[in-house]
């Protein structure tokens, strides 16, 4: 292998170089900006994380798994996974092998950035070796891989359902330019290398193409326009990249270490959030998964569009989208890059200004403290919603009575809200005041277990309360424990139950198994077609601020449709709000897990 041109330069590389320089500067500045937007502590944490071998290992694994192999997409849909990883991994390999070739054959040219990209133009093959053929083969192989991915991408544009997606994002103009540039890069590369394969060498793909081309074109100088076109396609793609969905390619590289360093999202479009915004590939997985999308008009409120509006600073739409969301967290779970749609929204909500401040001075926690004179082991906090679903309270207390539990009810005659509804509305100061008041009551009770049956309360108790020495249990955990300890026994029936994972309990707190154990003990457990992490919000969520009652019916009906596809006899849930919401439209009984248990206690 030898250099064909002593200068090692041709003007066609200019578009590529302009694009490359631009994108590198842009990403560099962007990365600095994101890091600068972190607060001091987070920044320190971020840098230190690179010194931690465990985190570093995780970073490397994530970079490979997420950025190159798209493992999450493979899990979702094989075709979708292949399409993405073929392009990403193939391209990555072409670049890597390109560099290896330069390093081996023309090491003096290694500092020329364009050399590995346009290698086949600048060199001529001198001898045919096994090693050379191996690289030629690899290059053609990965090019083929990419091309197959590109073909799939084209098919996906027309028939997204083949890839398991009912709805995809509507591409913006820059997305389209980027898309067509990307699509054209590799066919052009194939063509270009095909033209020069007789000089620079090639393998099954390029060499064969060369033969075909030569059968009707003899002048090898025809190659130059194609190389120009290849370079222009690259240049255009890189120039448009920061303004298109393809920004996710570089952004994700930054997001992964940020996430692994454990840095929390604090602002809706700064720091981590900015990294997340730019990591959003606009794939639109969040559209189908969003419970709101049961009403087609709502698909414009999915996280992908929030990200887009955040980039455009369209305040009105950002407000609408962020207030409408139910905060079920499903989009965050399914997002291939890990954009936290729910947290971005809460962060946005918390920036809203309220001219009427909260004033809880008259809400007197002393009244509750005074009511709890005797110390009990378990303190049962019903929460506001349970006051409206007394059957749950009755069932929970019946179970405790049966188990001989020593308990007292903290808010039997009305109480102070746990604070979560206020927190998700973005008014943290107000929520903190409620947390403070409740903490005082809980601590003064002297109980060692705080039992809650509302997942909304449970999540805030777990995450935002500091109740050292007090175990916080959701009633699903509590009942499961009573059963496994043999303190209560459930008479199993033939009833077919489907269990609905409440958002705040499942995705929110990771509790999936305990309720299933309990339900399985009471009857036959059937699963909904989407369940566990991807369970669909009941539609009653307090997460949404602006969604009116009449707009929620379709969402509940959609959730019910999925829940009942296994023809269960009854629906079991573990949240008073889900229960009330489902009951409104369900054609079969809906019960809380405690009710099902209490009914069948032996």
């Amino acid at each position: 292998m030898r250099d064909l041109y002593p200068s090692g330069f041709d003007s066609f590389i200019l578009p590529f170089m302009i694009g490359m320089t631009f994108v590198l500067c842009w990403c560099g500045i962007g990365a600095v900006r994101v890091i600068a937007e972190l607060d001091r502590e987070d920044r320190k944490k971020f840098f230190l994380s690179f010194l931690n071998p465990k985190i570093l290992g995780k970073n490397i694994r994530d970079w490979f798994c997420d950025c190159l192999f798209h493992v999450k997409l493979w899990k979702r849909n094989k075709l979708l996974g292949y399409m993405h990883s073929s392009i990403a991994f193939g391209w990555f390999m072409i670049i890597v092998i390109g560099h290896i070739e330069v390093f081996i054959y023309t090491p003096e040219r290694i500092h020329r950035m364009w050399y590995p990209i346009f290698f086949r133009y600048f060199v001529a093959v001198t001898e045919s070796t096994m090693k050379g053929s191996f690289f030629f083969f690899l290059m053609d192989f990965f090019l083929l891989m990419i091309l197959s991915g590109i073909i799939l991408a084209m098919v996906k544009r027309v028939r997204s359902r083949l890839f398991g997606m009912r709805r995809t994002t509507r591409a913006s103009l820059t997305d389209l330019i980027g898309l067509y540039a990307l699509w054209s890069i590799f066919p052009l590369r194939l063509l270009a290398e095909g033209f020069t394969a007789d000089i620079s060498g090639g393998s099954f793909l390029t060499k064969s193409l060369n033969m075909v081309l030569h059968s009707f074109m003899s002048d090898s100088m025809n190659a130059l326009p194609v190389w120009w076109a290849y370079s222009i396609a690259l240049g255009v793609f890189m120039c448009i990249l920061p303004f298109s969905r393809y920004m996710h390619i570089p952004a994700e590289i930054l997001l992964i270490p940020l996430r692994n360093a454990g840095i929390k999202l604090k602002h809706e479009d700064k720091g981590v959030a900015r990294a997340e915004l730019y990591s959003c590939p606009s794939c639109g997985v969040c559209i189908d998964t969003c419970p709101l999308s049961a009403v087609p008009a709502n698909s414009r409120d999915a996280t992908v569009y929030l990200n887009r509006q955040l980039k455009r600073h369209n305040e009105k739409r950002i407000d609408q989208i962020s207030e409408k969301c139910m905060l079920c967290g499903k989009c965050s779970v399914v997002c291939p890059v890990g954009v936290e749609g729910d947290k971005i929204r809460i962060a946005h909500r918390s920036r809203k200004k309220y001219s009427i401040a909260h004033d809880y001075s008259l809400i007197d926690e002393g009244k509750f403290i005074g009511n709890m004179t005797e110390k009990r082991r378990v303190l049962y906090f019903m929460g506001c919603m349970t006051a409206l679903t007394p059957a749950i309270r009755k069932a929970v207390t019946a179970i405790m009575d049966k188990a001989g539990e020593d308990y007292t009810i903290m808010d039997g005659d009305g109480g102070i809200c746990c604070g979560r509804p206020m927190l998700v509305a973005g008014r943290k100061d107000a929520a903190m005041e409620m947390i403070e008041k409740n903490t005082k009551i809980i601590k003064s009770s002297g109980a060692s277990v705080l039992l809650v049956n509302c997942p909304i309360c449970y999540k805030i108790f777990k995450e935002n309360y500091s109740l050292e020495g007090i175990e916080i249990l959701h009633h699903t955990e509590f009942i499961d424990r009573l059963v496994s300890e043999g303190r209560i026994a459930i008479d199993r029936s033939e009833t077919k139950y489907v269990y609905h994972d409440p958002c705040e309990l499942g995705r929110g707190c990771g509790i999936y198994d305990q309720p299933r154990n309990v339900v399985a003990a009471a009857g036959t457990l059937v699963e909904a077609d989407v369940n566990g992490k991807e369970s669909i919000c009941c539609g009653g969520s307090i997460g949404s601020l602006s969604l009116g009652f009449d707009k929620r019916k379709a969402l509940t009906e959609n959730a019910l449709k999925h829940l009942t596809c296994g023809s269960p006899d009854a629906i079991v849930t573990a949240c008073p709000l889900c229960k009330t919401t489902f009951n409104r439209y369900s054609d079969r009984p809906v019960a809380d897990i405690a009710e099902v248990t209490a009914e069948r206690l032996i």
């Binding site: 207030e323 809203k352 200004k353 309220y354 001219s355 009427i356 401040a357 909260h358 004033d359 809880y360 008259l362 809400i363 007197d364 506001c384 919603m385 006051a387 409206l388 009305g414 109480g415 102070i416 809200c417 604070g419 509804p421 206020m422 509305a425 008014r427 107000a430 409620m434 307090i542 601020l545 602006s546 969604l547 009116g548 009652f549 009449d550 709000l577 009330t580």
Partner: protein
């Protein structure tokens, strides 16, 4: 001013609809059109956990705002914990939480004005 008489004129407690400025309430209705649909059944007041301590009542808030008694309304609103019980019990399906948040954004207290 205490005067030589030992008593003074007191302002009328009556509602004068002629003097009610509807701008802010109309703005509120643009945000939450259901605000006008309240039929004063009182479910919200009865279920409100804050109401027990502060007399908070969404019905009264709405009512007072429509009658130009903003001060009374805003005082009540500030004690809302946003728990959503009123939302659950409202027979007309009024999105009371959004309503209250919108009130908190649109209206201003006399001190902050």
């Amino acid at each position: 001013m205490m005067n030589i008489f030992g008593f003074r004129l007191s302002a009328s407690s009556a509602i004068d609809m002629d003097k009610v400025d509807r701008t802010l309430f109309d703005k509120l209705c643009a945000e939450e059109p259901d605000a006008r649909r309240c039929m004063s059944c009182g479910s919200c007041s009865a279920t409100c956990p804050a109401g027990e301590f502060t007399g908070m009542s969404v019905r009264k808030v709405l009512h007072n705002l429509q009658r130009g008694k903003e001060r009374e309304a805003l005082k009540m609103v500030s004690s809302c914990m946003l728990c959503g019980k009123c939302n659950m019990v409202c027979p007309r399906g009024i999105n009371t939480r959004h309503l209250i948040l919108s009130v908190c954004r649109i209206y201003k207290t006399e001190e902050s004005r």
